[in-house]
């Protein structure tokens, strides 16, 4: 059915996600995909390319254009013993499904005292940086991270995209899987034959670059930006530690706290607005757990508290290496 790739191969993130879906469907006949345009077209980002041809229309299901309908139908399939993987076409289209996600997907296991499981993965291409029209560049992860019963993760590179998606699908809990769409074409080495049993835990953060002067914490699309900032800082004689958070709920506070205790300084960055965002929760937990190790106030670099702007303004809205480094300066030398 599928050509086995020699492992590891350099794949763009989009193809790594495609390989993960293929593998999950081969391994478990109960895995079904639902979404808009995911069949013949292969999805607007081609993440499901070729899957309907190989697995048939009963496993790769093109749905009517109704997000609540897609997620609600997935709930029923899960109750029947299926393991649905839902594609929400764009971040800004998830809101019609919000009720089904937070009132049903998140709560059914609790409501039924554990009798009903919701092994649903909801894939969401998210974030900006692609010059899109309104509602195609949002970062709604915070809404879901605040909802008990959901797990929320975001990949930043091709290898993680592949394994984290397989882990999310294998999870008996619902997982919101946020894919940084502007990184879909970024290549990385992916071992598509890797065993899921030996994989790095889904909900653990990863230190991508070690450093001693300050910690920069990022996830999804901004991990590459944080690494770029660390490169620039190194040229200026500063050693930044970069952590890829990977999991937004639950949070891997052990990895974060260990880094902060070492560097004494923390900058958190995400595209979502800082106000009431993921970074606010992390900052609160860091001051609670690392109060006596902190040398400076925790800094956040995120989107402004404005609706996502038109494409010609997004370069001013999105955090970039300069804004991250500006925050690093504040932690090292105090406010300007």
């Amino acid at each position: 059915m599928t050509a086995t790739l020699a492992a590891p191969a350099a794949l763009p993130m989009g193809k790594a996600l495609n390989a993960a879906l293929r593998r999950a469907m081969e391994d478990d006949a109960k895995v079904v995909l639902l979404g808009e345009d995911i069949g013949k077209l292969g999805g607007v980002f081609r993440i499901t390319d070729g899957l309907q041809k190989d697995f048939g229309p009963n496993r790769v299901i093109d749905t009517p254009l109704a997000e609540s309908g897609i997620v609600g139908t997935a709930v029923g399939l899960a109750m029947r013993g299926y393991r649905p993987v839902v594609e929400i076409q764009f971040d800004g289209f998830i809101y019609p499904a919000f009720d089904q996600i937070v009132s049903q997907v998140a709560k059914l296991h609790y409501r039924t005292g554990g009798n009903v499981k919701m092994p649903i993965t909801i894939r969401v291409p998210y974030g900006g940086g692609i010059g899109a029209v309104e509602h195609h560049s949002e970062s709604p992860e915070g809404y879901f991270a605040q909802t008990a019963g959901l797990r929320v993760v975001s990949c930043s590179n091709a290898a993680d995209a592949n394994m984290m998606l397989r882990q999310a699908i294998a999870s008996d809990d619902p997982v919101l899987f946020f894919e940084p769409k502007r990184r879909y074409w970024q290549k990385g080495d992916v071992d598509v034959t890797a065993s899921i049993e030996d994989a790095y835990p889904l909900h653990r953060a990863r230190v991508l670059r070690e450093g001693v002067d300050a910690t920069v914490l990022a996830y999804g699309p901004l991990v590459a930006t944080a690494l770029q900032a660390a490169d620039i800082a190194a040229g200026e004689g500063r050693s930044l530690e970069v952590i890829d958070l990977r999991s937004l709920s639950p949070l891997d506070m052990d990895t974060i706290a260990a880094s902060v205790r070492k560097t004494g300084r923390l900058v958190i960055t995400h595209e979502a607005a800082t106000f009431m965002g993921i970074g606010a929760e992390i900052a609160a937990r860091v001051q609670d757990q690392c109060f006596y190790s902190l040398e400076a106030p925790v800094q956040r670099v995120g989107g402004f508290t404005v609706p996502y702007p038109p494409a010609k303004l997004e370069e001013y809205f999105l955090p970039d290496a300069d804004r991250i480094l500006d925050a690093v300066d504040r932690t090292l030398i105090g406010p300007a």
């Binding site: 009517p64 609600g72 399939l77 899960a78 009132s103 039924t112 005292g113 554990g114």
Partner: protein
Amino acid sequence: MNTAYFTTGDELIQIVAPDGARSEPSEFSESVADISTDKLCDLYEDLVVVRRIDAEATALQRQGELGLWAPLLGQEAAQVGSARALRSDDFVFGSYREHGVAYCRGVDPTQMLRFWRGSTQSGWDPYRYNMTTPAIIVGSQALHATGYGLGMKFDGVEGAVITYFGDGATSQGDISEAFGFAASFEAPVVFFCQNNQWAISEPVALQTHTSIAERGRGFGVPALRVDGNDVLAVLAATRTALMRAREGSGPTLIEAVTYRMGPHTTSDDPTRYRPAGLDDEWRAKDPIDRIERLLEREGVMDETLRGRVAERADDTAADLRRGCLGTVEPAPMSLFDNVYADPHPLIDEEREAYAAYRAGFEGVQS
């Protein structure tokens, strides 16, 4: 209030008139030809017992034993008639008023009450009775039914799914989406709308300017409009819809025209919005009076039957009351149970911290 359209569009399927007289034979009366006198008596018993459960639960709420109850008074025939058409391997997705359906599925009435008492979010295991526990978000369950039905179709089983909702729910997007999805996928689903004329205070005229049956047809979902207070007509219509589902012909909508004789819930006061005359009009169409008249006409109603059924109802009510008063309330630390299927560090952290906090007090239950 505009009630004109109640009778426009299509004929109401009826087998027994309010005076107990059987109507002219039809394809629908044919489909319940197997309902013998004995089975008719069983249906009569179901209706009376279900009404008694409802009355006892309402009383328990008034006495402070339940936080809330959603009475089904007046809708007994719609629920019993449809539920008795089901096989045990069919799956039911209810709203929150389907106590009569739950009774027919074999759910212990005490289990039904635990939810309304606030002791649990779910009184029973859905897989034990093939029926979900109350869905409070109006209309949400119709999509779950559609997905479950789609799964049945993929599995190649001959089962069917029935989902219950009210006239108010038909305004929810989820109901429209469920009609569209089920029609498109030819899912084996029976959409059973109990049009009880009222969504709390809002008359059905506010929800729709066509019949509810007509709304299904707009999605390509064939619809039947049935006298919801005629238990035989409801049974017949549901059997017809289930047969369509089982033979792979896809979804059917049933609009069971009935009336909510009581309040929306025990917190509601219908005298604020509903003319008493309308209640009287519907009281004349009472589903239990109707089957009693039918049984009288057929010469089987006597004091023995009446007494047997009343005794069964009273016994059920007594069990219910005993069960309710004997409820073992959940332990405080069960707060943290079953949020996730797999271990979760945040839940563990909060559970441990709260347990440690509670341990600081003397004589506190863990």
